[in-house]
């Protein structure tokens, strides 16, 4: 389908889809609760109950500030993966994409609208995490405007990945299972909670393939003064990691948008 298009019409479409998506989210109280409860409970468990034990070796051997990117990564990775994959699956099951394919709203616009909704939700959750981490662990966090940029760029990429997962799984249940199966290893093997020095050398190239690694390293470089990262792409690690993450996120978003079904085979 085509449409006689103008920027105003495009903004109107996206705004309409954002409004509908936001309402649909906030009216699912269980989803709202667990979206914020999940990262909070992680901070409580690992930050307050397990506690870090600096220099003891093993997990959580680094100072509390080291793990801030990990806690943020839980919402930046998991929330888009699970929400987008199940949302796409729900749209498929309800023939909503078949309907949308006959309207002027394009796949990329739809995904952008959903990404905006996720970005708002995840920004709020990330702020909550920062407050909890500082309050419960006493971590020192250097706040930077780039922190917000990292969160938003990460959301864009993982919304794309979630959309792709939802497009290729059979049902909502399958989408959630797939997002967990992919999300958990990515989360723990992307320089978040596990220091790469604890991983076998042969595995390290895989760490470098994960976009979340660049999120974690960049956020750590920005918020954790003790982080000692070298230049990335010839740039300061905060900027260099952001550039790599941006590139990866754009690719993932494009893949996600292309994956959304507009026609059957």
């Amino acid at each position: 389908m085509t449409a006689v298009d103008s920027p105003a019409a495009r903004v109107r479409r996206i705004r309409g889809a954002v409004s509908a998506g936001w309402r649909a989210f906030v009216r699912r109280r269980t989803a709202v609760f667990f979206t914020f409860f999940f990262p909070a409970i992680l901070v409580i468990i690992f930050g307050a109950l397990v506690r870090t034990s600096s220099g003891s070796g093993g997990l959580f051997a680094e100072p509390a500030g080291y793990y801030v990117p990990g806690y943020l990564a839980t919402v930046v990775l998991f929330t888009p993966l699970s929400r987008m994959s199940s949302e796409v699956a729900r749209h498929r099951e309800g023939n909503r994409f078949e309907k949308l394919a006959t309207t002027p709203l394009g796949r990329t616009e739809w995904l952008l609208a959903q990404t905006i909704v996720n970005a708002v939700i995840i920004t709020i959750a990330a702020a909550l995490i920062l407050v909890l981490v500082v309050a419960l662990t006493g971590a020192t966090v250097a706040l930077s405007p780039l922190l917000l940029v990292y969160v938003l760029v990460g959301v864009v990429g993982f919304c794309g990945l979630g959309a792709a997962l939802g497009s290729y799984t059979e049902s909502q249940d399958g989408a959630v299972a797939a997002s967990n199966a992919i999300g958990l290893p990515v989360l723990f093997l992307s320089a978040t909670f596990v220091n790469p020095s604890q991983l076998p050398a042969w595995f390290l190239p895989l760490v470098d393939l994960s976009p979340l690694s660049y999120f974690a390293r960049g956020v750590r470089a920005a918020t954790y003064p003790a982080a000692d990262y070298g230049p990335v792409l010839g740039f300061d690690p905060v900027i260099g990691n952001l550039l790599v993450l941006t590139g990866a996120s754009l690719v993932l978003f494009w893949i996600g948008a292309r994956s959304i079904p507009q026609t059957e085979s």
């Binding site: 479409r13 023939n95 909503r96 078949e98 394919a101 006959t102 709203l105 026609t263």
Partner: protein, 339 residues
């Protein structure tokens, strides 16, 4: 007339399953066209091919003079089968959402009133009844004031009052020049709304025509159904079934068939019912009721769909193009009783 929806020799397979096998149809501007056929006949696949959400393996489709992928979406309204929109939006929010997708759109409240949901505007979609939900979905297709409206089973699950609302809506749209393609399993709906009807079976459009023309071509004649008295259907009765039909055939010039406990007398004009009853009585055939039936689209449906199935399966022995007796609902009961 200028055809605005055209399918020519469209074929589509899903693995070993043939969904469409050379389906063709043409719908003129301002026409209401109903596509009928059994489940699995290919109706939804043909609709999807016409709306660009299925790519045919072969053949061609065009809408408003162009390929579906190139149609200006603002000129098309589509209600998919089994469509389930976001369920935690109110009816008004839902229509406002779909309205926002078009550069210019109608007032959602006006459309809500048209589909009879003005009083439920603030109710979440998931809390609407099944019929109200379907009406909200129909409303979502009207927001852009489409030139071509495609409705895949628009009245499924809707109660009679809601169905009447949708029917009137479609009639009003047609009167204003909107081209409407609808699929339905409700023959009365097709007969009431459609200028022309296409019957699809096994992926092929078997015939297209006005409801009256299809009935003339395929449904057979008006007939009188004679409900036989028990003594006539008793296996101990001295008059066997064969005797009964033979006696009736000797008495009446019409074509006569026996269907379980009934005799079916074909080509009976309503004004001749009395004389047929007298002749049956004279022949000693006892009956408990007479019903005159006029075949409709349902008879066409059975005649064509059964013939197509029989052609594929090689059975049964009924003559193609002749409607089953039991498929004809009684149109008028002319009374009866023992003669």
């Amino acid at each position: 007339m200028n055809p605005v929806v055209v399918a020519e020799d469209v074929a589509k397979r899903y693995g070993e399953t043939v969904a469409l096998d050379g389906a063709s149809l043409s719908i003129d501007a301002g026409e209401v066209f109903a596509l009928i056929g059994p489940n699995g006949a290919g109706k939804t696949t043909l609709v999807r091919a016409l709306t660009g959400t299925v790519s045919p393996d072969s053949g061609s489709v065009s809408v408003l003079g162009t390929a579906p992928a190139d149609v200006d979406a603002s000129r098309l309204g589509v209600l998919p089968q089994s469509f389930s929109p976001p369920d935690r939006l109110s009816a008004r929010e839902l229509l406002a959402y779909y309205a926002s997708l078009y550069p210019e759109s109608r007032d959602p409240d006006t459309v809500l009133a048209e589909v009879g949901l003005a009083d439920s505007a603030e109710t979440w979609y998931e809390n609407l009844s099944g019929g109200q939900q379907r009406r909200a979905c129909v409303g979502s297709t009207l927001l852009n004031d489409p030139d071509v409206l495609v409705l895949d089973e628009p009245t499924t699950g809707i109660d009679p009052a809601g169905r009447r609302t949708i029917h009137r809506l479609i009639e009003d749209l047609a009167a204003d020049g909107t081209t409407v393609l609808l699929t339905t399993h409700d023959m009365a709906e097709a007969e009431r709304l459609a200028d022309r009807v296409g019957l699809l079976a096994d992926g092929t459009v078997l015939d297209v025509g006005s409801p009256a023309a299809l009935v003339d071509r395929h449904a057979g004649s008006d007939r009188l159904v004679v409900d036989l008295a028990e003594t006539e259907t008793d296996t101990e009765s001295p008059m066997t079934a064969a005797d009964l039909v033979a006696t009736a055939r000797e008495t009446l010039p019409n074509r006569i068939e026996r269907d379980r406990s009934r005799l079916v007398v074909h080509d009976v004009d309503p004004t001749d019912i009395g004389s047929v009853a007298d002749d049956l009585s004279t022949a000693g055939i006892e009956y408990t009721g007479l019903r005159w039936t006029e075949p409709g689209l349902e008879a066409v449906y059975y005649a064509l769909a059964d013939a197509e199935t029989d052609a594929v399966t090689g059975g049964p022995e009924s003559v193609a193009g002749e409607a089953s007796v039991t498929s004809n609902p009684p149109i008028s009961d002319v009374g009866g009783g023992r003669p």
